[in-house]
Subunit: 594 residues, 2 copies
């Protein structure tokens, strides 16, 4: 129809009045009013109102009568000023409209299964099945524009800092450590499998051994785990590795990058350096290794004051090597009934706590079921340490340390939400450092790597690797934002001898280490430079920047909690011939569709 | 040792004379000479000579004696001017050297299995096993810097043109059309499989249906095919899709992008618009749908002139619907013996030709075994059409059209190389347009899509889809560079009805189409915009820009022709427990390692 170049609907302003324009887009809404037809026309830039008037074109008006929501149309028309009361200040084009002289229907649409609008209460399953309609909603479109801008800022920053973007393989070797691998049967090598990478960890270390010194990749990673709300079988990480840099230099570089992201994407000035906190302090103060520091409500430790208490729950927790700690919920004594506190008790039980003791501050006194067991000195000590005053509610957990941390850490977060203590406009970044290198697994009765087996121990702790492995700290650092782990990194072991010792501490025989990681061990013998890096979970970064609470909102075609794609119906059955070629067969019991 | 900031070895110049610098890097080479030790120190920026002199530091000299090739060292020293005859103009730092006062060995290296040098004749298998050493060679490092710069230029161009970079899934649905899929067994959905994408084709179309209008991705793609020299099981494509743009607009945009790449990466000014040639013309003139236009040596068609020839080979080829064509190899009659021509005959037989007839031009005459069968008129016609003159060698193939094209097209390329007709400094881009939509497969006796089943037929040919499918042309375009296909694209079908007809032409029943592509067909019913795009093979682009002839040189960790990674030893056997969890088992006959 039109030879003129197309204009974007959302770009039209009063400057364009009297111009003749061509628009292409989707029908958001049609209203018939007083012999006229009004259509909200939507394209990727936004919405403009177009008007069909019989005085301008009877033919266009007639065609407009057949137009329905989500039809794709092309129109030509003149930009005109809206009359006073018809101005719509809710949209940027609200001071003008387009008087249509020509209308062409480019493609029709069936009636969509749900309305394309910003807020929707349609079930997520239906939205995922018709993801291409869900993605038309402007709030969703904004998330992906933000995702694009964020990766572009990150890439430009790293490019300006002499990093090379490099691609590591997706078809790689299975290493049974860590999470479960996705496997890919090989056709050529019958009986053998590739694995999809859980991260490019080993490859990025090999890139350092290759002498590139500064690598990054916005890398797809895969984990075949049972999914939680914020997990996806495939996810994306900003993967960075450098040679010859210290932990501090890597953290500095990373926070400069995040400063740039916050400024260019959110127009927020991040003050550097970002606060840093040691792992143990984070656990002690917040009961979490990824504390949300937007609010206080910190853990208060009273083990010393109650270790001889006649309240046996406190006394025995300390005696058995555990802890007693409390949260002081300021001014909330009156607002929490016994029933409310019972609910909180149920909540902390999920985290392994056997109970939740409580006291209310009334004047100078502590009142509650356990008060009678506490001595005068204990009451004074608790009040002092907790900075308790009239009307406060004190909530106690006494248990082994991990349970005290986990339960009070979670309770702290829950109460902050309930009591509206969180300023949602804050972006509180925090580095957590000085992590333990190893974790003891009580089930398998052996140590496993807290991050991964390539993390370097702190120099002063190296000697403890064989004697006291639980107390070896790592040259590792995590970046936390608002209570979420954005990612983490470390310096890596770059000498074969030390890597051998690390595998030994993890209970590998030399043969097992060789079998699984022989290529890395060998690479360390050919002039590996000191190196380290970081990986940030891009999906989670986007989720927080976009103010979403669900990771699926940040992924274009996400999978459900059962790792299914409802749009394409993946995974699905395949032809017997395909399995034959791969030299595999289904287990008999699963031969029929599950 | 050093608190000063590190300097890069390759960055030092005469400007830095007298400066004290800290360097970190690898020992490229050590020479002991007259009580001094000279080391070529290499880092990612290049090489500088460092000198150990007992007058500066006896201790550093002593340590230097233990240093071997590929050790990682840190040195402190003073930049000094080299004496006249010791200046080395082969390296950029050749006018200076660094007099070392401190040396620390950061990591040792075993004697590497091959020398780290620009040119190497070590077997590729050994280089791939020790890829991290192979990657240290400066020519190889340059390739990956070029790859980074190229993708950065492409991303910035597309960003500036309002494209959004978006990530499509790697775990997706198997569609048995096209090449063989890599499959991934699902653990949660026992007996079902994901497939790795051969391209993001369907997802990028769905992104258009989602209303994003301009998408790109530097996308990993997977094909489980038997590999040739320029194929890899996983490869990367620059994947672009747009809505509401014409073929011409997409080609214009793409060539603007390539112009930017050539300028910023190769400092070459590309003249636009790029030449465009219809598929049929490319076949007729060059015997190839991706002609190398850096040299002439075009096919000369003489079917009309020899259709009644008494040389039966010519006459019957034409009678049976085939062709007769020749190459005129100018001035080479004297240089090709009968034995040489026999070798060329063997060469064309690989492409299905039954033989290679030949004539040499001697004065006004055509001499050779077939000359006696040709009439005076035929000789005149051949000489005129071929513009033949004394000393030329004429090489004929008479066969069905596809054989004539394939064999002479390949012969043309072979002769150009042998005779040095190719200017290696030229970058001859070419668009090939007006492709056939469908190809007839004589084995299966059905049509298949020449590009893919979503390509739009030309408007004027639509009606032939059911009556004369072999002559329907597509709205498709390929970008060719120096005889290689960089990639291709098309406008896509955006209306359900037309897509249904296309599947019918391809021999799908409606049920089969629904089973495999139902989600796309349904999406086309909800207001799909007109859309189209292009995909460029990034690995091949890099290969040509870097002047390499092997795609493996452009991939960081490539796989061999049997799709194996010699470094990590992938694919490999996996634990029985892993297979159990995936509800699959190996076929009995393949239970032992192949």
């Amino acid at each position: 129809m039109a030879s003129e170049a197309r204009r974007l609907a959302g770009s039209l302003r009063t400057d364009h009045i009297d111009e003749e324009v061509v628009l292409k887009g989707w029908v958001q809404k049609r209203r018939d009013l007083g012999g006229l037809i009004f259509i909200d026309l939507r394209d990727k830039s936004g919405i403009v109102q177009i008007v069909f008037n019989p005085d301008v074109s009877k033919e266009a008006l007639r065609t407009a009568e057949s137009v329905r929501s989500e039809y794709v149309v092309e129109v030509r028309g003149q930009v005109v000023k809206r009359e006073g009361s018809t101005v719509n200040n809710l949209i940027k084009t609200g001071e003008i409209e387009v008087l249509v002289s020509d209308l062409e229907i480019i493609n029709k649409s069936k009636n969509p299964p749900f309305l394309i609008q910003d807020e929707t209460d349609v079930s997520e399953d239906l939205r995922l099945k018709y993801r291409y309609l869900d993605l038309r909603r402007s709030t969703v479109q904004e998330t992906f524009k933000l995702r694009h801008r964020t990766t572009q800022v990150i890439r430009n920053f790293l490019n300006d800092n002499d990093f090379l973007e490099m691609e590591t393989p997706i078809l790689t070797k299975s290493t049974p450590e860590g999470a479960r691998d996705y496997l890919v049967p090989s056709r050529v090598h019958a009986g053998e499998f590739y694995a999809l990478p859980q991260s490019p960890q080993l490859f990025k270390q090999l890139i350092m051994v290759s002498g590139f010194e500064k690598y990054f990749q916005i890398a797809r990673c895969f984990r075949d785990e049972d999914l939680r709300a914020d997990r996806q079988p495939e996810f994306t990480q900003v993967d960075i590795e450098t040679s010859f840099m210290t932990s501090d230099e890597i953290m500095d570089m990373t926070e400069n990058m995040m400063q740039k992201v916050m400024k260019e994407v959110k127009e927020i000035e991040l003050t550097l350096p970002l606060p840093r906190m040691k792992y143990q302090e984070a656990m002690d103060r917040y009961g979490s290794d990824k504390p949300d520091t937007r609010f206080a409500l910190e853990l208060i430790h009273i083990s010393d004051s109650v270790k001889d208490s006649s309240f046996k729950v406190f006394q025995s927790a300390v005696e058995n090597g555990g802890k007693v700690a409390l949260l002081n919920v300021k001014n909330q004594a009156a607002n929490y009934s016994r029933k409310d506190i019972d609910k909180l008790t149920d909540f902390v039980k999920v985290y392994g706590a056997k109970g939740l003791a409580w006291l209310k501050v009334e004047g100078d006194e502590l009142k509650g079921p356990i008060s009678k067991f506490l001595s005068e000195e204990e009451v004074v000590a608790i009040k002092n340490k907790a900075d308790a005053s009239d009307g406060d509610l004190l909530l106690f957990v006494a248990d082994k340390s991990s349970v005290v941390y986990d339960s009070l850490g979670a309770l702290r977060q829950k109460l902050a939400k309930e009591l509206n203590l969180i300023d949602e406009n804050k972006f509180n970044f925090l580095w957590v450092t000085d992590w333990p290198l190893l974790e003891y697994d009580e089930d398998t009765e052996r140590y496993s790597a807290a991050h991964h087996p390539f993390t370097m121990p702190m120099d002063e702790d190296v000697s403890k690797l064989s004697t006291d492995p639980g107390n070896v700290r790592a040259k590792a650092y995590d970046l936390v934002l608002n209570g979420y782990e954005l990612g983490g990194g470390s310096l890596r072991i770059y000498q074969r001898e030390q890597q051998d010792k690390m595998f030994a501490a993890l209970g590998f025989t030399p043969e097992e280490a060789e079998e699984q990681f022989g290529f890395l061990l060998e690479a360390l013998e050919y002039g590996a430079p000191p190196h380290g890096g970081i990986a940030l979970g891009l999906d989670r970064v986007i989720m927080l920047l976009a103010g979403r609470s669900n990771m699926r909102d940040t992924i274009l075609f996400p999978k459900t909690a059962s790792a299914a794609d409802l749009l394409t119906d993946a995974p699905s059955e395949v032809a017997a011939k395909q399995l034959d070629e791969l030299s595999i067969q289904l287990n008999k019991k699963n031969d029929q569709k599950s």
